[in-house]
Symmetry: C2
Subunit: 126 residues, 2 copies
Amino acid sequence: MQREDAVTEHPAFDPYDPGCPSRQLVDRIGDRWTVLVIGVLAEGPARYGELATRVAGISPKMLAQTLKALERDGLVTREAFNTVPPRVEYALTPSGASLQPVLLAVSSWAREHAGSVLQAQAAYDG
Amino acid sequence: MQREDAVTEHPAFDPYDPGCPSRQLVDRIGDRWTVLVIGVLAEGPARYGELATRVAGISPKMLAQTLKALERDGLVTREAFNTVPPRVEYALTPSGASLQPVLLAVSSWAREHAGSVLQAQAAYDG
DNA sequence: CAGGATCCCTTATGATACTG
DNA sequence: CAGTATCATAAGGGATCCTG
């Protein structure tokens, strides 16, 4: 259990503490769509429709939701042009860009170990 | 998308890009409990109850489930001692240990940016 | 002590249709 | 084009009880 008045302090962020903002961030990084969206934006700004295309399989709802969350977290900027037809561009902020290497490390590890993991699974199942 | 009928015979959560096992791994890394469990084991072998204590908030079900998945993936070993009372020790395999730096990068990023993210959220909400 | 088996509920997510 | 609104479903996860 936890103290109610812990808000007044500004302690070290502890991912092991449920309810700690840093844990929330870890969760976000782990999010299925977040990773993919940031991956696309890491290559440059993109429009909504472009994202919808490149992150294949994502529903409009999830895309909008993911982008909104990222924008709220200050990881992504949203720029709307009042034209016809409408045009909205998303881009990574410096914070968002700083996340890229981390995500890269994750996917690198995954690529490197995918083989041995598959092997281990087969052995375990057998 | 898929040409399959409404028959969902396989619980494959891969939204798209099938045939990429590394994708499965990324999802695992992103798993809320996996990250925390590996984090604890990175400091050395631990018993079931020890893990239950240190990974605050996890239920027996989730802990067992997470450990089993990690064991199947060859990231964690399980050693059961046939004593009374029972004693089971979990430890990282080399593969699992190699994951530590990656996870460390993730939580480091989270700790570093938690502040600015909170700030961004406040600004967004206001 | 370690964990399996259940039950149940909350939330996440997807499909679809609609609007500024 | 860029979303929003709504609905239905499935999965994640917690609580609890039980056993080797």
